[in-house]
């Protein structure tokens, strides 16, 4: 059985077709990157996989179960961080983690473990409002890891971070990969992130999958890296840092 199966999924907002017929399968223990520029439909697609948005058409199965009938079970086995969650600024890291741990009936033991895992020990008593971008992302990851998720979704976990903080986060994720118990789906527009962390890369643009496979399958003499491949496929640059809001 596939860990995740997405079949012919379509999702539109008023006048935008965000996801235009996507099908994919993800196997247990795989690390998958959804790589694409801003507006490609990455968030819409993962949020449908996370059961937070409903597809207009198509089907999404996690371990063979759909969201409509198995929401309660699925919530217990997935972990996620949203693209922009701002945790309550007037709570400390430990208080925030305790709160989320209680949703899974977990206590301080697990809170201590994820604090150690994300290297937030020295900051656990700090208010969220005082944290740096990298620390906030690690907190979001810690929250996502509380319940030992079998499937972990991270939406742009390193966007906006400095190279050093980005590397810290990658190392934590690599540690997770070595344990082999977690399936990871992360979205990114940094090709390095996909290249260094993920064995399965899905290139997304304008709501459609352009290419997918392992890194060596995707590259050839015309495309020496993923950025070049994307330019060859679309004529656009993958990583346009102009985040217009």
């Amino acid at each position: 059985m596939h860990q995740i199966e997405v079949k012919d999924v379509i999702k539109s907002f008023k006048d935008v077709q965000a996801v235009r017929g996507v099908s994919l399968t993800i196997e247990p223990g795989e690390f998958v990157a959804l790589l694409g520029p801003n507006g490609a439909g990455k968030t819409t697609l993962v949020e449908m996989m996370e059961g937070l948005k409903k597809p207009d058409k198509g089907e999404i199965l996690i371990q063979g179960k759909n969201w409509q009938k198995h929401e309660k079970e699925l919530r217990k086995i997935i972990g996620l961080s949203l693209q922009e969650t701002r945790f309550t600024e007037k709570l400390t890291i430990r208080e925030t983690l305790r709160l989320f741990a209680s949703f899974f009936k977990l206590g301080d033991d697990r809170v201590n473990e994820v604090i150690a895992l994300t290297e937030l020990e020295s900051k656990e008593k700090s208010f969220v409002g005082t944290l740096s971008g990298g620390q906030r992302q690690r907190l979001a990851l810690a929250v996502a890891l509380l319940n030992h998720p079998e499937v972990l979704f991270l939406d742009e976990p390193t966007t906006g971070l400095d190279p050093h903080s980005r590397l810290d986060l990658w190392n934590i994720l690599k540690g997770l990969k070595d344990q082999g118990k977690t399936t990871l789906i992360l979205t990114t527009h940094y090709m390095e992130e996909a290249e260094s962390l993920c064995d399965h890369i899905i290139i997304l643009d304008e709501g459609k999958i352009l290419r997918e496979g392992q890194l060596h399958e995707l590259l050839d003499e015309n495309s020496h890296n993923l950025d070049e491949l994307f330019i060859n496929l679309t004529g656009k640059k993958l990583n346009e840092e102009a985040q217009i809001k």
């Binding site: 701002r86 208080e95 949703f103 301080d108």
Partner: protein, 369 residues
């Protein structure tokens, strides 16, 4: 056995409480501000201070007024102008100071527009003519006082005050009217800003969406929020009551159990309303607009600061249907009229039903993501 620390309702309530008390402005607006208002308004309305009236005089020919002022008034300086000041002493009703400014018609109209004067006195064929807005009760009062003084210039000091009996009984002073209103208004504001705004802000920060992406029970989230606000409201009302007892000797004449019950019903009503108001929007500006749209009319109409009985009959009927009116009238009747369980049964039921209905409707349309 799992400790209470892993209970989600406990954690939700605890974090909500921590967040509330860590916001210093909450303590200021919730506790300090109502006390300041009650002290300010209480002092303003309980002291028989000197009332000052300003009258513009525009005359073509001398009238009776001039001869009267010649005897009774003295010239004084007021805002750079010389006015004739007539002081009338009165032990019961407080002293009155009438300031007459001789001026021309154009300037008289300007000072009326600016609220510097309330009445213009002019003359026609040697007779005094009062000109003022009949809807201005201050102006009416000046007119009555003046015309009385004109007729009885010598009996001023004593007048016929033998017939006036000042009421200083507990429960009939303005402060007795005001404090219950401030308590109920505090509950409305605390719940609307505390719950509605907090929900909208969390939705805006995508925190709500993050929370429902866990096995959290949605009802626990809302219950925790309400629990914290109910407790905070009880503390705030208690502190306000304590200060008004200390400064103004306010007491609760009716049944305390009934008071707690109707206050709880009020909390339920406004908690439900706040969930309804916050059920969809993720924009804090929109939320602020809605909260103001709900609280402002009630603050003005429901008789918090001034009685609503001066409104037309039809309006009074509508005003009585407002939840803040029902709550305030109920609380006031317990404070000042010694009301008990039977008297508050109807408002209590109505408020609770209103709250539950709003809550159900709000949940029905609630947007978590």
């Amino acid at each position: 056995m799992k400790s209470i620390k892993t209970n989600q309702l406990y954690q939700l309530t605890l974090t909500q409480l921590l967040e509330t008390v860590r916001e210093p402005s909450v303590l200021f607006w919730g506790i300090v501000f109502p006390i300041l208002i009650s002290i300010g308004l209480g002092l303003a309305f309980t002291q028989t201070s000197e009332s000052k009236f300003h009258i513009a005089v525009v005359e073509k020919q001398p009238t009776q007024l001039d001869s009267l002022l010649k005897i009774s008034a003295k010239p004084t300086q007021h805002k750079g102008q010389t006015v004739q000041t007539w002081k009338v002493t009165d032990k019961t009703l407080g002293n009155t100071e009438l300031n007459f400014l001789y001026t021309d018609w154009k300037n008289a109209i300007i000072s009326l527009k600016r609220g510097e004067a309330d009445v213009i006195i002019s003359d026609s064929l040697g007779q005094i003519c009062y000109r003022f807005d009949p809807h201005n009760s201050q102006a009416q009062l000046i007119y009555m006082k003046l015309s009385y003084l004109m007729k009885h210039p010598t009996t001023v000091a004593s007048s016929d005050q033998g017939r006036i009996e000042p009421l200083t009984l507990k429960g009939v002073r303005y402060i007795d009217f005001l404090i219950p209103g401030l308590i109920t208004l505090g509950i409305l504001n605390a719940l609307m800003w505390g719950i509605s705004y907090a929900i909208i802000e969390r939705r805006n920060q995508k925190l709500l969406r993050r929370m429902v992406a866990t096995p959290m029970k949605k009802s626990n989230f809302l219950i925790a929020m309400m629990l914290v606000r109910f407790v905070m409201n009880l503390i705030e009302a208690g502190i306000l009551f304590f200060f008004s007892w200390l400064f103004f000797g306010i007491t609760i004449q009716g049944n305390i159990g009934a008071l707690m019950t109707v206050l709880l019903a009020g909390n339920i009503a406004f908690a439900g309303l706040s969930v309804l108001v916050a059920c969809r929007t993720a924009k804090t500006e929109v939320g602020q607009g809605w909260i103001n749209a709900v609280t402002m009319p009630m603050m003005i109409l429901s008789g918090i600061f001034f009685s609503y009985h001066n409104f037309p009959d039809l309006a009074v009927k509508a005003i009585k249907l407002l939840p803040l009116t029902a709550l305030t009238d109920g609380v006031r009747s317990i404070f000042n009229e010694g009301a008990g369980w039977m008297d508050i049964a109807t408002p209590t039921l109505a408020l609770s039903a209103f709250g539950v209905l709003c809550f159900i409707l709000g949940l029905r349309f609630f947007k978590w993501g």
